[in-house]
Symmetry: C2
Subunit: 387 residues, 2 copies
């Protein structure tokens, strides 16, 4: 057991922030900077859905706790939306309002994992899921998947190789952070069927559901409503990441267990953030999201073209192997060279076994500034010897 | 290992909400209601510190993430405040801004507990600490303490009896939720010295530091800065419970581990809530807190008088044994009789081994309505046979 002055082995195993080393460089940078390492949007949320729009005179008790389940009006609006979008019968008891997607997936990890239980992460994966699993004493198992699987059959072969007696769940994220790719519907179907065969839970991270650039998003919950926890977020959808509001949808029998964990990690989701989310759901949010999506598509495609990459299919990122441009100083050397010019990228190791990849977010600053950052990257790569 | 459809034993062991069964009764209650079961304040936060005061025009990026450490200006303001109040040398690295006190103590539990590690809870204790420890696979050990210990020596004797090879930490809360009592400074000194002798961490919950009704609050961190995690909250201090903003102060060497857990359970503390807290720290909050405290003292003393109890020493609660008024239907029967008249109280079992106690919060509704609720309670008790 760890006693003072020792910390828990689970948390010691979590990597520290991957950005902090380089992010400090930008603080006193003399010229224009390109912080394209974080996943966020440069746009302010829709009018009517901002903090300044929430007045105590109209909303007495705005600064008091809400129910730990979530504000009843917001829970109801989410139920309605989830029914309409996924087609799955959904009641209040299937929904939990959470401190963003992070709070929701944390609640799932706390509710379903015994110490040592393994969670398969389809990689490249959202970086935080690894630390979420570890925070609750689970064991993340990175599965090199996106770009490897090329059919439903190969998808199953790949995950099957990582299955052990301790596997409790499988996590996927589509549209994908960091790759900008989608997992095709038929593969998801096969994976859900495989999970059912092995009594696994499914963590379906769908926070980019509104940011799929062609076709309709393939919801995971219809495939196995008895075992899917679907993660949704107002952060990504409506430009409210700092508000910390999202929701989980899952099997009613176990949502009460999730609620116990959320109650004991952040208590209730911030009240004003829930009111803002409710207002966004009433119309302004979806209009905002459509406009944002159109703009993200254009910015993302332009950035991909500049870098000679395939156009993104969704989310807000490009993920690419820079090994041809790496010298003896490796990826860190390249990231450092970028940081010296005011440009930050996220290192591939945050997303799985990708030591020579980098991730670029093309929505963190406005489109023109993003493009200037992308061109800077192209020119830096151009000056480095191609191996 | 638990697999679908089973949840983790740790979370199954957490009690569900103790209020929910009775709280529904008040929804359609025809007359005035007295929801004195929750710990909250009826007052709106100070002007200038409300959501409506935070304008995007003045605060661009108000709805974006902040650093997971906390907004630098707020971290600096907290550092200054902690230095001034506790006298302990404090740097940025000692501070973590968290989603309320709950988020802070959750981060501590995740950072220091290995599965099965025990945490001694000086009881009656804040109800959530038990579930926080369990959420991270720790084992809460309730120690009947307040009202039992009558000297520093007996305080040590009491905790010593519960010490095992798995004990990793001790938790106390002064001023106390639920008892309204203080743990005297010399006892805290003895307990800190005892914790040092046994290599234990100390979780000092000081969220009611501004609500001690006489004398100066005895800070715990000066007693053992190398092992104390002090929990503070803007919720209680400034009437911002729904904002979910607080902070932990502790040894710099391990605060990074706490930050990993907070990053993976709620990511960053809500941005607008941090701005509101910063504004409150600039003056309006302390003025608000002084006025609130004066009013709480008066309301609390009046309520205690009406019920024939000792006046409270701090926090916002009265906690009392109702066994003389219990019939065959026990505490639940009494609470039900109260709920039928529009009055809610929290049952003693939420706070430790106190099956015949109840907790009343005298700040959840305005003073006059509180007093009418208290008089209703007195009359209900008066009509029940004293055993």
């Amino acid at each position: 057991m760890p006693r003072h002055p020792h910390a828990a082995p689970s948390v010691l195993a979590i990597k520290g922030s991957v950005y902090s080393t380089l992010a400090g460089r930008l603080e006193h940078f003399p010229g224009e900077t390109y912080p394209l390492h974080v996943g966020d949007t440069w746009m302010e949320p829709a009018e009517g859905c901002r903090m300044e729009d929430l007045r105590v005179a109209d909303l007495p008790g705005l600064h008091r706790y809400t129910s730990v389940h979530g504000m009843p009006a917001l829970v109801d609006a989410v139920v309605e939306r989830v029914r309409a979008r996924s087609g799955v019968p959904t009641e209040r008891a299937n929904v939990l309002i959470t401190a963003g997607g992070t709070g929701g997936l944390g609640a799932v990890a706390g509710a379903i994992l015994a110490p040592g239980d393994e969670v398969l992460l389809l990689a490249p994966h959202w970086p935080l899921i690894e630390g979420i699993v570890r925070s609750f004493h689970g064991v993340p198992v990175e599965v090199d998947f996106i770009g490897r699987a090329d059919s439903a059959e190969s998808a199953i072969e790949i995950v099957e190789r990582q299955l052990t007696s301790r596997t409790a769940a499988i996590y996927w994220n589509t549209p994908s952070n960091p790759t900008g790719r989608l997992i095709p519907g038929p593969w998801l179907e096969a994976l859900a069927e495989w999970a059912r065969r092995h009594d696994l839970w499914i963590l379906a991270d769908e926070v980019y559901e509104d940011y799929q650039f062609e076709g309709a998003h393939a919801y995971s919950r219809p495939l196995a409503p008895e075992r899917v926890f679907a993660c949704h977020s107002f952060s990504k959808a409506y430009g409210m990441a700092g508000n910390r509001c999202g929701y989980m949808v899952g099997p009613a029998e176990v949502m009460g267990e999730l609620m116990k964990v959320s109650t004991h990690t952040f208590y209730s989701t911030p009240t004003a953030s829930q009111v803002a989310a409710l207002r966004a759901l009433g119309g302004p949010g979806d209009r905002w999201a459509r406009a944002a999506r159109d703009q993200y598509i254009e910015t993302g495609r332009r950035a991909a073209r500049t870098l000679g990459l395939e156009p993104p299919e969704g989310s807000t990122f490009l993920f690419f192997d820079v090994s041809p441009w790496l010298g003896e100083d490796g990826l860190f050397g390249l990231l450092e060279a970028c940081a010296e010019r005011g440009l930050l990228l996220a290192p591939g190791a945050s997303f799985g076994p990708y030591p020579t990849h980098a991730r670029l977010c093309y929505t963190a600053v406005d489109p023109e500034r993003t493009q200037r950052g992308v061109e800077l990257l192209a020119s830096i790569l151009g000056t480095r010897r191609r191996r």
